[in-house]
Amino acid sequence: MSYTFIQVLISGVLLGGIYALISIGLTLIFGVIKVINFAHGEFLMLAMYFAYWMWHYWGVDPYASAIVLAALLFLIGAATQRGIIQPLLKSPASMQIFATVGLSITLQNVALFLWKADYRTIQTAYQASKITIGELAIGYPRLVAFAGATAMTIVIFWFLKNTFTGRAIRAIAQDRMAAMLMGINQKKMYMLAFGLGSACVGVAGGLLMPIYYVFPTVGTYFSLTAFVVVVLGGMGDIRGAWIGGIIIGLVEAISGFYVPALKEAVYFAIFILILLFRPSGILGLGRGFEEVAQE
C-alpha cells in the first residue's frame, strides 16, 4: 500500500468521525421517538453559531464551549419535543415530517435574518496543527472530532444499557404501550431522548468549529449524509451510527480519490442498495423497526 492510499484511508476514517458525530443524535431521536428530525442539521448550525459567538465575544475556546452547548442544545431539543413533536405524536408520520421540515426552514431563515449569509470562522492556535508520521499527516482538530464521536458513542451506549433512566428509554423505544403500563413517564422520557439527541449536535458544533465554517445553511451540508449514515448503521442504533459514519467517510474518501466525478453517486447508490436489501441496516433492530411513528 502506497503512502497516498494510507493517507486516503486516514482522511476517510477522520471524515467518518465527523459524520458519526452528527448521526448519533439523529439515530437516538429516531430510535426512541420514531420521529425523523429534519431540523437536526439546523440544530447543528445553531450550535456552531453559538460556538462562534462565544469565541467572538468572550474568546471561549470552541472545545470548552462544547460542554455549554450540549446543555443549551439539550434544552432546545427538549423544548422542541414538548412544543412541536409531542402534540403531533398521534398524527400521521407525514405531519411530523412536515413539522420538522418547517422547523428546519424557519431556523435557516431566522439565522439568515439575524446573522446574514457571511461565512464565519474561528481562528485557534491548534487548528492547523497535526500529527506527522513519516509523510502521513493527521489533523489535530479532526482527530479530536473523531475521538469525540467515539467517546460519545461509548457514553450514550453505556448510559442506555446500564442506568435506570437509560433502560426506561430503551423500554419505551421497544414498546411504547407496555412501557407506559409499567409506569414509565412517556412524555418525560421523550423529552429526555430528544434533548440528549440534540445535545449530541451541541457537542458536534463545538468540535467542528475549528475545522469548518458556519453559515445559515451549513446544516444541509451534513444532514443528508447523516440520513445515509443512520440508515446504513440501522435506524436507532448508536453503535451503528458510529460504524456507518466511518464506512461513509471511507467510501467518500476512496471514491473521491479514484472516481471523483461519481463521489456522491457512489454513496447514494449504497444508500439505495441498503434500502432495497437490508432496510434495517447493518445493526438494525430487526424488521419493522424502520417504520416511522408506529402506534
Binding site: 492547523a128 469548518y212 451540508y221 449524509t225 467518500e252 474518501a253 473521491g256 480519490f257 471523483p260
Partner: protein, 416 residues
C-alpha cells in the same frame, strides 16, 4: 349586446389614448432622456445588485451635473429583477409599457441572459455592465453590448500571470511549469477551467492535473492528495467561498505547497476567506479592478471613490460599483454620439467608440467586437493578497502597484 361591447371597446381605446397623451406630453416637455435599468434590488442577489446599481447611478448623477446627454438630463426608470422570471417580465414591461428605447443592467449572468434576449427581440439596445458569463455575447445579438470582462478572461489571465510573471522568477520557461487546474464542477468553475486549459495549451504549459469537485463537499483531502501526487509547480483554483476555505485549510493540514497559486475571483476574492486562513500573503487572484491599482493607469478612480463617499456616506463595498460606473459612462458616450435612441444609430455609435487601455477609471479600454458586442479591451486583473489581507494589482505591469512574490511562502513558513 354586440353594439354595446363595441362601444365599450371604443371608449376604452379613447381613454387609453388620452391617458397616453397625458402621460406622454410632460415627459417630452421636460428635457429628460429616460432609459430603463434592470437590477436585482431585492432577494438573494440584492447585496451586490444594489452595489452595482449605485455605480450606474453615480455615473448618471455626474453626467447630469456636466449637462447630461444632448443637453438633456438623463433619468433611469428602475425595475427590480430578483430572479430570471422577473428579469424577463420587467424587461418586457420597460420596453412595451414604459416605452424604453434603451436598457442597462444587471450584475447577474442569469438575469442578463434573459433580459438581453427580450431586448434583442424588441430591437432595443441593452448595455450589460457587470454579468460575466460568456454565452451572453455569444448568441450573435446585434444590440447587446457588454462593457465588462467576460468569464473567459479569468482563466486566460490566470495562465498569463503564471507564464509572464511567475515563470521568470522561478527561472523556468512556461513549458517547464507543471500546472494543475482545480475547480468546483458547476458552470462557473468549468467555464474558468475551460479557458485556463485553452490558454495553457496556447503558451505550451503542461497541465498535469485536472480536478473537478462538488462545491458542497465536506472533505477535499482526496483532491489535495491527488494534486500532491501530480506535484505541480502552479495551481489555478476556481472556488466559491466554502470550498476555498476548506481547500486552504486541508492543504495546510496535508502540507501541500506550490510555487504559485492563482484563484479565480469567487471565494478567493472574499475577505471571509482571507480571515479564515490568516496569513494569505502571496496568494494570487484574478478579478475585476480593485482599488489598490496604479492610479496613473486608472485616471478618474479617485474621483469615483470620492463621489461614492459623498453620495452614500460610506466607502464602496466592492468593485461592482466601479465597473457599473465605467459601463454607464461608456453607454452615455455612445448615446451622445448616436444623437438619438434609434437602435441602429446606437449600435453604430457604440461600435465606433475607440478608447485605448489605461485611460478610464477601470483601466479598461473600449472597443466593441461587431460580431458579439463584447468589449474586447476589458480583461480582469492579476492581483495578490498582502499580509494585511488586502488585494494589490500585479498584472498587467502598467497597472501594477506591487511585485509578485514567487515562490509563495510555504505553509510552514506561514507559521501556526
Amino acid at each position: 349586446m354586440r353594439i354595446r361591447s363595441v362601444s365599450c371597446l371604443a371608449i376604452c381605446a379613447m381613454v387609453l389614448s388620452l391617458g397616453f397623451a397625458v402621460i406622454g406630453s410632460p415627459a417630452e416637455a421636460a428635457e429628460t432622456v429616460k432609459i430603463g435599468a434592470v437590477y436585482p434590488l431585492s432577494g438573494n442577489l440584492a447585496r451586490l445588485g444594489e452595489e452595482s446599481y449605485r455605480g450606474a447611478e453615480l455615473a448618471r448623477i455626474e453626467r447630469n451635473a456636466q449637462g447630461g446627454v444632448w443637453g438633456k438630463q438623463v433619468e433611469y426608470v428602475v425595475a427590480d429583477a430578483p430572479d430570471t422570471n422577473a428579469a424577463r417580465s420587467e424587461a418586457e414591461r420597460l420596453i412595451t409599457r414604459s416605452n424604453m428605447k434603451l436598457l442597462l443592467g444587471t450584475y447577474s449572468s442569469s438575469l442578463a441572459y434573459v433580459a438581453t434576449e427580450v431586448a434583442e427581440r424588441n430591437r432595443v439596445p441593452f448595455f450589460e455592465f457587470g454579468a460575466i458569463s460568456d454565452p451572453i455575447t455569444e448568441r450573435g445579438f446585434k444590440y447587446t453590448f457588454r462593457t465588462c470582462a467576460p468569464a473567459s478572461g479569468f482563466g486566460t489571465i490566470a495562465v498569463r500571470v503564471i507564464a509572464e510573471l511567475a515563470a521568470p522568477k522561478m527561472g523556468m520557461a512556461p513549458k517547464d511549469i507543471k500546472l494543475a487546474i482545480v475547480y468546483e464542477d458547476s458552470l462557473y468553475g468549468t467555464t474558468c477551467a475551460k479557458y485556463a486549459k485553452a490558454e495553457a495549451e496556447k503558451v505550451g504549459m503542461p497541465v498535469v492535473a485536472d480536478e473537478p469537485y462538488s462545491a458542497k463537499t465536506n472533505d477535499l483531502s482526496p483532491v489535495i492528495l491527488k494534486l500532491k501526487a501530480a506535484n505541480p509547480d502552479a495551481v489555478i483554483h476556481t472556488a466559491y467561498i466554502a470550498d476555498a476555505i476548506l481547500f486552504s485549510r486541508q492543504a495546510k493540514e496535508l502540507n501541500f505547497d506550490v510555487k504559485a497559486y492563482v484563484g479565480q475571483g469567487g471565494g478567493h476574492s472574499m475577505l471571509d476567506w482571507a480571515k479564515a486562513i490568516g496569513d494569505v500573503s502571496g496568494f494570487l487572484n484574478v478579478d475585476f479592478p480593485q482599488f489598490k491599482i496604479n492610479k496613473a493607469y486608472t485616471p478618474g478612480l479617485d474621483e469615483f471613490i470620492k463621489l461614492y463617499e459623498d453620495t452614500y456616506k460610506e466607502p464602496p463595498h466592492s468593485g461592482h460599483s466601479l465597473v457599473n460606473y465605467f459601463g454607464a459612462k461608456v453607454m452615455f458616450d455612445a448615446m451622445e454620439k448616436a444623437g438619438s435612441l434609434d437602435a441602429d444609430k446606437i449600435r453604430e455609435a457604440a461600435l465606433s467608440l475607440d478608447v485605448p487601455e489605461g485611460q478610464t477609471c477601470t483601466g479598461w479600454g473600449v472597443k466593441f467586437d461587431p460580431k458579439t458586442g463584447q468589449n474586447v479591451r476589458a480583461l480582469p486583473y492579476g492581483l495578490m493578497w498582502t499580509k494585511d489581507q488586502e488585494q494589490v494589482t500585479i498584472y498587467p505591469s502598467e497597472a501594477a502597484v506591487a511585485e509578485i512574490i514567487v515562490p509563495m511562502p510555504t505553509w510552514r513558513e506561514r507559521g501556526q
